[in-house]
Structure formats: C-alpha cells, structure tokens
Amino acid sequence: MITEGKKAIWSEYQKEIADDKFFYVRSCIRQNFFPGSEVAFLRIMRDVLKKDVYEHPCHTTCSGIGYHGDVVPVETAMTVVARQFALMTEAGYTNYVPSCITSFGLYTEILDTWHHFPEVEGKVREQLKKATGREFKIPGNLAHASDVIYKFRKEIAAKAKYKLVNKNTGEPLKVVDHIGCHYAKMFPSKGVGGAEYPYVLTGMVEEWGGQIVDYPERRHCCGFGFRQYLVQANRGFSVACSKEKFESMEPFKPDMIITNCPGCPMFLDRWQYVINEMEGKKYGQNGEGIPVFTYEEVAGLVLGYDPWDLGLQMHQTDCEPVLDKIGIEYAPADKYKLDVKTPSSKSHNLISV
C-alpha cells in the first residue's frame, strides 16, 4: 500500500462543506435501528461544536427508500424533495444536511438532474406550488452529516476524552470503514475522497487515533440493497453480500466497523448474528463478532458519552470488546435498564429534541 497515492487522490476529491447554520433532516429508518445516533449528532453539533442546527418539525421522508425500492417514481421523489427544500427556504437556511446516505444520494442526483434539465426543475416547482403553495430555493451547500463531522473531526479530537487506541497495547484500533453506496458511487466528486478511496470516515478514524483497514471487498455493498432485503425471498442474497465482506475483512482482524449510512450498520450488525445462527461462524477475535458503529456513535464515544446513552445496547453484535479495548467506562448492569441515570447532566436533551 502506497499511502502517498491515496493522499493524492484524497486531495483531488475535496468538497465544500458549510461551517455553520445547518438545516438538518433525519433518516426515516435510523431512529428505529440506532436511535442514539442522530441525537448524538445534534448534541455534538450544538453542545460541543456550538453550531446552529435547525430541524423542521414538518419534514418528511425524502422518499428515496421508495425510489430505490422501485415503488416511488422519480417525479414524485423530486416533489417531496422540493418540499423539504421549501421548508429549508422558509426557515431561512441554505446549508442542507441530511442524516441519511440514500437521501444524500437522492438530493445529489436530483440537483444534478435539475442542473442538466432545468425544465424538469420548472415542472417540479409548478407541481409543488400547486400541491402545497410552497416555493423553494436550491440549497447553497449540500453535505451529508458525516461530511460535517468530518469537517469538524479535529475540533472533536481536541475535546476527546478517549482515543481509538488499545489502552493495553497502545496500538491504534484497526477500523474497517464502510461507506454507504449512495454516498459517492453515483457522483464521486460529491464525496470526500471520491468513490474509490473515500476519505470521509478514514479522516475521522485517523484523527481520533485509529487505523483504517483496506481490505479487498471494501467497495462491496453491505447487503441492504433495498430490493435484496425488502423482499424476503431475496434476503439470502443480502446475507451473502455481507458474508462476502466479513470473509474478506476477517484476515485483517479488525477491531470494529464504522459506517455512515442508515442501512449499513444495521445489516453489518444483524447479519453477523444471523450468519452465526445459521452457520455458527463469527468473524471477530476471541469468538466475538466485529462491533459495528455509526460515525456519530464513534464520535460520541471518543467525546466520552455514555455507551448506553448512545444506544449501543441496540446493537446485536456486542460492542463491549471495543469499549474494553479503548478503556471506556460503562456500567454493564445498566445496559438494558430503561430508567438510566446517565452521567451527563444534559441527558434530557437526548429525548426531547
């Protein structure tokens, strides 16, 4: 591996990410999968980085899940997206930050379509106006939430309580990064580091003390693939996809996986359990699975948030091995307690946003 070569590519794929005043839109599925993540994002942005992040109570799905699941036509998706933009415009924001990778991909795709076919944009404006009476402006800056964390990775590092380092050996943790397919594969220039060697998560991990593992199947889909998972008959393909990734990363003995997409951590996490149930195979060390995290969870951990506060108890593959390696303090007994006294005084924020 020639690191200089990668750095050259990373330097070519840099994108503009706004500094403040973000209009944040949520993912439709993440709150079920890993409910702590989006909350942690807001908390880090507002409390740690002191940024203005606005969430509109009326925002909806972007309909990307339906679009990629072949049930929502593109014109419909465009109109839904236009409404989201209208909400942003009305709130007086221009920096649009979606939480979901598929949303980010869809927004990018739609903006690019409108750029090349202004008549489509015109039609959508007309439809939105007719249907809701709303009007919108094109966002001044579109960045995925992970782009934003990437941008502030150094600030987070500066305030970090923990590093992604094995406290016993002093060696950096080996981290597999998995980028959602819709992040940059469709529009490599819109992702930090491009599509082949994305830097967005690598940048965070390296900044926070970890070491990235480059394994052959890093480009491979997590197995969600929308149609693959959503149709039960196809789920065998979904698991097979994840399995191929695990088999490919296994020789590198990774300590953890970090992801930036709603679906990926879900499938990389749950399918490890399913594969173990079906075939009795685990891919981590010491007979464990490989813990899977969202980037918000990892940011939260290094900033010293309580693991159960971040919702790590929702993971099917136990995350304790990583917590132990880093030396994060946690109360095992509190893992599944509903009424938890969190060490953070502002814990109420987590629920009330």
């Binding site: 039960q232 008959a233 789920r235 065998g236 393909f237 698991v239 097979a240 399995k243 191929e244 399913v274 594969i275 149930e277 079906m278 075939e279």
Partner: protein, 114 residues
C-alpha cells in the same frame, strides 16, 4: 434455516483460486490444442446436441478451464461425439478428444461421481 425463512445464497462468482482445476490440467497435458480455443462459438453453433439442449461446447471449455466442474459434469454426457465441431473449428482444437479426456478425468478423479 426455518427460523429466518431464508438461507444464505450461494455466491455466483467463480472463485478461481479455490476451484479445482485438475480436470483442466489433465486435458492440457494430453491435448495441447485445448489452449487454442478463442471462444468463437463455431462448435456450439453446429452442434446437434446444442440444437436440442443448452449444451455449449464453448462454454464447457471455459467452465473446465475455470474449474467449475460440477456444471461441466451435468452437461458432458450430452455430447454425441459426432465431430462436426472439429470440422468448423478455426483453431484446429481437437474438441472431441477434449470431451473424451474430460470424461476420463472425471472418472479417474475420486471427487466426482459421473
């Protein structure tokens, strides 16, 4: 597995390194013209069996070379050895002998039941 309602699908990918290519080696050693195929498909086009079934000598060659042997065994016995393929082959591949050698190789090998 019953409990999930689905099983882990088999990967369609040819795993070249872990496939058993001993059948191909057996043929290479005894029929050097096996190397000469350029996959033009002339043999498959003239093939009597190919007219009735999905048997394709061209594909068979490539599957043997890649070590996808289970797929080969299924089809091997359909060949009538009539030899039309030899007459149309632009590279002078001794196609009949390859079929015969493949059968032989499978028979000699303990790992396959033919």
């Amino acid at each position: 597995m019953e409990k999930f309602g689905f099983t882990i699908s088999k990967i369609r990918q040819i795993d070249y390194d872990s496939n058993d290519r001993s059948i191909a080696d057996y043929i290479y050693e005894r029929e050097p013209s096996f190397r000469l195929c350029i996959e033009c498909g002339g043999c498959s086009a003239t093939c009597t069996t190919g007219n009735y079934t999905n048997f394709s000598l061209r594909e068979l060659h490539i599957l043997i070379k890649r070590g996808e042997n289970s797929q080969v065994i299924e089809n091997l016995k359909k060949c009538m050895l009539c030899g039309k393929c030899i007459l149309v082959c632009p590279r002078g591949v001794n196609t009949r002998n390859i079929v015969i050698l493949a059968r032989q190789a499978f028979q000699k090998s303990d790992s396959y039941a033919i």
